[in-house]
Symmetry: C2
Subunit: 246 residues, 2 copies
DNA sequence: TTGGCGCATTGACCCAGATCAAGAATTGCG
DNA sequence: CGCAATTCTTGATCTGGGTCAATGCGCCAA
């Protein structure tokens, strides 16, 4: 774990500014946030906090991927959240981290000291509004995930995960919705298995099957090409309303 | 669906007062809530809203049980939330219901018209604080559930569900934590299956197995007796920190 | 260049839970 | 009270995905 600094220009493009906390912040509120802000980097595989740890910050993901997961004492683990760039980590008003947080890839966080952040929340209603909105979004994502975990087949699970990641990439890069998306898979087979409630062997087999059936193409092990997004969408088993909403 | 009225005394014991929205409300805020409040009853099995419907109210469960669930078009359904007395239904700031809501048993809701409720939220910061708190609790519950769905065996799933319901009953009735809890199961075998990502046959078999092994006793089909809560807790596969926290 | 290490793939086999199919127990209603 | 409709239980069989084990593929370091 190393501290680092971003120059103002980079900071200006930090996702926290336009997506997470301050979608509607005024200039002086941004100043205030800048004063309690610091950057922190982690390497792939590094733990960020353990379940039960005291967390004295909240943060926004700048680059990389982090996971939230719950473990049973016999070693079974279930990923319960996936944080991609612009996602928010931490909970104002709560001392202890409820899950293990791990850097899945190399990761940079934009952190805010928790106490001043909470005080700012109390003063500026639209920040806490925004927090509620984000928490409701997380709740929706968690519940979509519950459907995946409880009722989908292995093949549908893999297709759903690929579709979720593809959507997220597209919405960040403002890519055109159409066909021919591609992206770097930020997860190992084991992490995908933990996400989907499968074993890594089943993940590997189903990815091979989707490749064999022409739903996806792999370049190397991690680069995924999706020639026809609608086809992938059908494989997820979801309503085929198709669109790239999020 | 029928409208009904509660006299003031009953209203005074409505869970909304002491658990959900107004844990810290002052008398005049309670007056204000009373002005936009009405009661509504549903019979077991009745739908309350369908996914996508416009919802012009938020509500608190007074008596009975409701479920939130998601359906795939081929008929597979997954319950994604279970609302017991004192739980909150609806989302300030959002027009459309994201899930199907169904009355699992006979149900009474204490409803608040959404627009005035939202305006009140904007004015009284501790109400929106409370909303955020409740939403974070729901998120935690959803994620605990994800572990259940993704990684637990059928037997552990059933034990977990019974433990969750037993805990909830205990926390509402302020029962002593110790042994010898009992409660009326508010769910059919099919609803339990939808909750746990199982089939109703598997639910039935595992309940029989837990009964055979002396973990639970049934009186009739719905009344469950738990002679030793710690024993049940062990069957859930969770950390055996035991306590009745919620 | 070679060996070692960390992923990923693939195969063979097995088992928990699904599916299909009777019945039994409750519940509700005329 | 009695008959029908639910809801639940139990049995027999099947199968998707888990488990165990071997092999492959890069990539880095010596």
């Amino acid at each position: 774990m190393s501290d680092m600094t971003f120059d103002h220009k980079e900071c200006g493009s930090c996702p926290i500014r336009h997506r997470a906390v301050c979608a509607r912040c005024e200039a002086d509120e941004l100043e205030e946030l800048d004063a309690i802000k610091y950057y922190r980097s982690y390497e792939a595989g590094q733990p960020i906090v353990w379940s039960g740890d005291r967390m004295d910050f909240v943060a926004s993901v700048v680059t990389g991927v982090a996971s939230l997961s719950q473990a049973m004492e016999d070693g079974r683990t279930q990923m319960v959240g996936l944080l991609l760039p612009s996602d928010f980590l931490g909970r104002p008003g709560r001392d202890a981290a409820p899950y293990d947080v791990v850097a899945v890839s190399n990761l940079t966080l934009c952190c805010f000291r928790r106490k001043p952040f909470e005080q700012m929340m109390l003063r500026t209603p639209h920040v806490s509004q925004r927090l509620l909105e984000m928490t409701l979004d997380e709740l929706d994502a968690a519940r979509e995930w519950m459907l995946i975990l409880g009722r989908k087949t292995a093949r549908e699970k893999i297709a759903s995960l690929l579709a979720i990641i593809a959507r997220r990439e597209a919405s960040l890069e403002l890519t055109t919705a159409g066909d021919g998306m591609d992206f770097e898979l930020p997860l190992t087979r084991e992490a995908m298995a933990d996400y989907l409630g499968l074993t890594l062997e089943t993940v590997s087999r189903q990815i091979s099957a989707l490749k064999r059936d022409g739903v996806i193409t792999l370049e190397g092990k991690r680069k995924v090409v999706i020639p026809d997004y609608d086809r992938l969408q059908i494989e997820t088993g979801d309503d085929t309303d198709g669109g790239l909403m999020i």
